[in-house]
Subunit: 129 residues, 2 copies
């Protein structure tokens, strides 16, 4: 249980930064070397490398050394544990989404009723004049 | 898009700590006051309050003041955005789960074949003796 909890810590921590999420997005298009992975970001290679290390620690990025090149690839499997943890709360947000939907439907009906009444009043006035 | 990104930062950051995840788990049973929410954790009330503030910032906890009591309640809806973000990667981890499943099936078949061969050998030896 402790092991799973630490795993969730590293996964959610890795995902809590926009640069790291953008790096995962880049790797979803295919593996690439560290330089290419860091290139789109306005930061030093050292700073980008730190982000990659956080992703590696979470198991979301695998690094293989091919000659002088470090090639990074996506490993999305650990995200599955994060989604599974959050799914325990699905019933709560579904209840909230249902309430929001009901409110919107009620609002739409109210608007429609108001519109019908306005149209009816306009017709009555039109027939009087 | 920036706003959504900041929202994801705060949600994933809030979920990256075992105390905060345990607090959400406690609130899933129903609203409670700050003292009761902090009680199960081996930390000061000030430290627990900091965790609650992180959860509030992420929108996962709502606080209402009833007289002198601060009552906290769960708001799971922001988690929906986190799950939706991760679902983009579902096809990748599904591919990996499929590969793992295929490996396990192949291993089971290999084991079953080995067992059948062992049994056949034993029978042959038995009929010879």
């Amino acid at each position: 249980m402790v092991e799973d909890s630490e795993r969730l810590d590293t996964i959610f921590h890795a995902l809590s930064d926009p640069t790291r999420r953008a790096m995962l997005n880049g790797l979803a298009r295919g593996p690439c070397n560290v330089g290419d992975l860091a290139a789109p970001f306005d930061m030093s290679l050292a700073a980008a490398s730190k982000h990659i290390k956080v992703l590696e620690k979470a198991g979301l990025v695998k690094r293989s050394v091919q000659g002088r090149t470090h090639v990074c690839s996506l490993d999305a499997l650990p995200m599955h544990a994060g989604v599974e943890w959050m799914r325990h709360y699905e019933k709560f947000w579904n209840q909230q989404l249902d309430v929001l939907e009901a409110l919107l439907v009620a609002e739409d009906r109210g608007e429609a009723k108001k519109q019908t009444e306005t149209n009816t009043d306009a017709k009555k006035k039109g027939s009087k004049s």
